[in-house]
């Protein structure tokens, strides 16, 4: 029993059908609990006041936005190497979800930045690289929707995803070079001395878990929809032949 058995769409549909409700409920519960805990049960920051609480949306969305691209990269690689159709569909399904998460991260960041930094937008390296990530998502989705032949589209977007990943990382460090930052550094890394205080950390963790599950649930649901759409397409073609 290996992981590759789920490359078979029938097996994938069976498994994802069983997992999906759990993921969806888990995501809903975790996000609700994390947000409620974070919004109402944590103290206000002594300098930022209540604005700090947007972190419970901002950080998980940013996390999912970046890891969503990573998931697309892995799925594209599997598609290009092993030609499993489910994998290509997962990459396709993940893109709009990741793009929306990028927008959420940018928007919540702007809403927080207006009172805190005194501006909606600054050309800070982190903000800029997120904007560039958004553009990459946009191009990727546009290429998917521009090509009609599904297999060609999967191949070309896969190649674009690989090249785009390299350039995304390159741009990330290029913008570091280009402008000094306003954004605070990593506050959640495991080995950092200056992490956020534990009171903020636990609800944030719950919220992040919720967002990850939300991402997985949405991607699975979208992939299942796409598989069904293709089956329908084949059935229609068959009907026309008879």
């Amino acid at each position: 029993m290996s992981l590759w058995e789920y490359a078979n769409p029938v097996r994938f549909m069976a498994l994802s059908g069983r997992v999906l409700p759990w993921l969806a409920w888990g995501a809903g519960l975790c996000i609700a609990a994390g947000l409620f805990w974070g919004f109402f049960l944590t103290p206000e920051d002594y300098r930022q006041g209540s604005t700090v609480k947007i972190i419970y949306l901002h950080v998980p969305a940013a996390l999912v936005a970046i890891n969503g691209w990573l998931a697309m990269l892995v799925a594209s690689l599997i598609w290009l190497v092993r030609r499993h159709h489910v994998s290509a569909l997962v990459a396709r399904a993940a893109a709009p979800v990741g793009m929306v998460m990028t927008v959420i991260a940018l928007a919540t960041g702007a809403i927080w930045g207006q009172p805190m930094w005194g501006t909606w937008w600054a050309w800070d390296p982190r903000l800029t690289s997120f904007l560039i990530l958004f553009l990459f998502y946009l191009g990727y989705i546009a290429l998917w929707s521009a090509i009609e032949e599904p297999e060609t589209a999967a191949d070309l977007t896969g190649v674009l995803c690989l090249v785009g990943s390299v350039f995304a990382i390159l741009s990330r460090y290029a913008v570091n070079f280009w402008n000094q930052g306003l954004h605070q550094g990593a506050s959640l890394s495991l080995d950092a001395k200056e992490n956020v205080a534990d009171v903020f950390w636990w609800p944030l963790l719950v919220s992040m878990a919720g967002f990850v599950m939300l991402f997985l649930a949405l991607v699975l649901a979208r992939t299942r929809t796409e598989i069904r759409a293709r089956r329908l397409h084949v059935l229609r073609l068959r009907e026309r032949m008879e």
């Binding site: 560039i132 553009l135 191009g139 546009a142 060609t152 290029a174």
Partner: protein, 218 residues
């Protein structure tokens, strides 16, 4: 390969294939900028490095679709794919031909346009150098974008959407080198980074271009 290179060069120069057009486009963009931001010399000198780089980048972008689109239409691309030379070499050669007919002339006329934008005299050398080092990357990345969209009927707009984000590192380092060179600061570091971007893309991207072409020719 040499025959292919010469053929592409000849096509670009002779048949109104847009050899002069990208230069004219570069000129027009540069002329429009003072109309947009006002004629004060200080402001112009401040934005000249970035404005010239963006103008050059857009000029390159507009000429990208001639790399593969015409050859695809008349079937030359199919012949090239079955020719005894590897498709990777075809991709690299066509990118080189594109650079010789676009990037190189752009780099050579850029100082003249720099005068229009009141570019600091100290920056002129850095401008030529950075364009010479950076435009190969623009051509190679552009060839990749052109290969991705070669099968589409109206791929031009989509291609700009795909290619422009990939141009970000090149633009950052290129404009930074000119700006720092003009201010008398250390411009060697961004220039070296720019050379690194160019060398890396020239080495790797022809393979991605060839892969995209193969998929499109299937």
């Amino acid at each position: 390969m040499r025959a292919l290179l010469l053929r592409d060069l000849r096509l670009a120069v002779r048949s109104g294939g847009g050899f002069g057009l990208s230069l004219a486009f570069f000129l027009i963009v540069t002329v429009l900028i003072p109309f947009g931001v006002g004629p004060e010399p200080g402001v112009l000198a401040r934005i000249a490095p970035g404005a010239l780089w963006i103008g050059a980048l857009l000029a390159v972008l507009l000429s990208l679709d001639r790399i593969f689109a015409l050859d695809r239409e008349d079937g030359t691309l199919d012949l090239l794919a079955t020719a005894p030379i590897p498709l990777e070499a075809v991709a690299a050669t066509k990118a080189l031909a594109h650079w010789l007919t676009t990037g190189l002339p752009l780099a050579l006329v850029a100082p003249g346009l720099g005068v229009l934008l009141n570019l600091a005299p100290a920056a002129t050398g850095w401008l030529i150098g950075s364009l010479l080092l950076g435009t190969p990357a623009l051509s190679v990345i552009g060839a990749f974008g052109a290969a991705l969209t070669v099968g589409l009927k109206r791929g031009g707009l989509l291609m700009s959407l795909l290619v422009l984000p990939l141009y970000v590192p090149t633009l950052i380092f290129g404009a930074l080198a000119v700006g720092r060179g003009g201010a008398g600061a250390d411009a060697a570091t961004p220039l070296m980074m720019l050379a690194g971007v160019s060398l890396g893309t020239v080495a790797v991207l022809p393979f991605a271009t060839a892969a995209a072409l193969r998929i499109n020719l299937r």
